[in-house]
Amino acid sequence: MRRSGAEVALSLAVLALGAGVAFGTVFLPAQSGYARIGPNFIPAVVAFGLIVAGAFLLVEALSGGWRSMPEPAERTEHALHRGAFAWISGGLVAHMALMQWAGFVLAGAVLFACVARGFGSARALRDALVGLALALGVFLFFVRVLNVSLPGGWLTPLIGGL
């Protein structure tokens, strides 16, 4: 018998999502025209579907684990590398925060350096410079050639942008 705490947790998450949608459905109007159903009908169906799927997942998880999962031997993976996960997540969050005021190019360089670090690169300065060059190239191409507006941030006086 195999039982995975993660599978139980994910099953519960699907159930909770279903419950959340069901709760949200309560606040939607039921009024309708000729169809006799309103904007709340399909959300109720989706909530029901999520709850049923979550319940089945939970039953499977508690009775020997989810069905037809790949055999451990078929998986070529090493143990979870927390550092790698954290560096990439951190990079994405920093990128989100930096975008509005530091601008696309600098945010992109930071993201690039963090992701490279997550993949085990030890040369942070080089990565940041490569990222800077790449982001600058992309920025200029999108802003000057494709006319897509991107925030220039701190570099706006030098390179333009929003």
Partner: protein, 497 residues
Amino acid sequence: MEAFAGLLQGFDVALKPINLLWGFIGVTLGTFVGVLPGVGPALTVAMLLPLTAQLDPTGALIMFAGIYYGAMFGGSTTTILLNTPGESASIATALEGNKMAKAGRAGPALATSAIGSFVAGTIAVVLLTLLAPVVVEVALKFGPAEYFALMVFAFTTVAAVLGASTTRGLASLFVGLMLGLVGIDSQTGQPRFAFGVPELLDGIDVVVLAVGLFAVGETLYVAAYTSRLPETLEKMSGSIWMSAQDWKRSVPAWLRATAIGFPFGSIPAGGAEIPTFLSYSLEKKLSKYPEEFGSGAIEGVAGPEAANNASATGVLVPLLTLGIPTSATAAILLTAFQNYGIQPGPLLFQIQPDLVWGLIASMYVGNVILLVLNLPLIGIWVKVLSIPRPMLYAGILVFATLGAYSLHQSWVDLLTLYVFGLLGFLMRRFDIPVAPAVIGLILGPLAETQFRRALSISQGDASVFLTQPISAAFLAVTAALVVVPWLVRRRRASKLG
């Protein structure tokens, strides 16, 4: 021969120098991005979507057809040389293709895959040309009830029938349908599940979901679970040309695989995974050299690659004629259409024949460009594979975030992207299929609209779905698809018990 006239007119459009140029750029970019390990066709199309912002619809769609084909070819190169299938449809290719590369026959493996894709792709486009007007003819008679029933059929096959587990497929589908609820209800203007966030009122963009699941999720997964494993890139060795025997063994495999792949793609069942494996096992059974299977049999590359391409073209039949996407890539192509205010479906063939037939004609052209451009340039594409992994994934994420950010120039979309990245990471880790979620997101709102329209017409009488013969037939087939395998399993289990 309405189709023939349409096609001639289409070639007129596709062979305009400017459109040829877009096709050429599309194929090149698609191959370049598709070669990148971990980047499948769906992600390639999604990441390159912002590039077409300034093009006219016809040019943009022609470029996308090129990107689509280029990405598929690029993906096979990676699969064969690196043994990292970018998507489930390439797993069968990896079985023999990587063994051939290890045995110093990377050249013929890549050649049979490229020429096979060309042959299968071209035959499939011919079939598409012949089939599309027939389907359009039928589809013009469809009302909302028929469309709704057809969409339920597509949901069921994609989520419940095709994957490893019906339960996980359905969970994924309903998560996608839930995401599709977010935003303003198209019938009444009522905001739903937007929590007052302006970015959410527009609804969740399919591109953000796809890029989040495929790019961010995949990057997180690879970094956390496989980046510390050793990786072997096979050298591009052996002549690129196939020997006479290679040809003799490849040609029948290509043709058989096309016959398997195209129907699988064109009934709204989606997914190239089943036809590729069917073709693989068929070739294994029919081969005169069964002992070579497992150590690099050329039929084992030729068949699945051709099946994959034929099915990818087949998927365009329901997409173009009915507006129903049945693979993640098709869902993103549909978004590309919608960005231009174009709704694929039977009416599109009547309203904008230039655009549809131009697109179909450009697939013939795209296949040719792919063959003449990429086979000789294979050495360059292989170099892309030696980009160090840290740089590669860092670059992928810079582009992935750009696509999401440029939607509203808002960090909210970046947050959504990251949340979908976490979701994709978990789905990858726990073997939950992502295609049902992507298809649920884009098809869910369309299905709801048809459902409510059908009920409006029938004055709220829900029996309309069962009294209309076509709708009833679709629903009956759908029910059979779910119930019959379940009954078979139960019977087998009770016999064993």
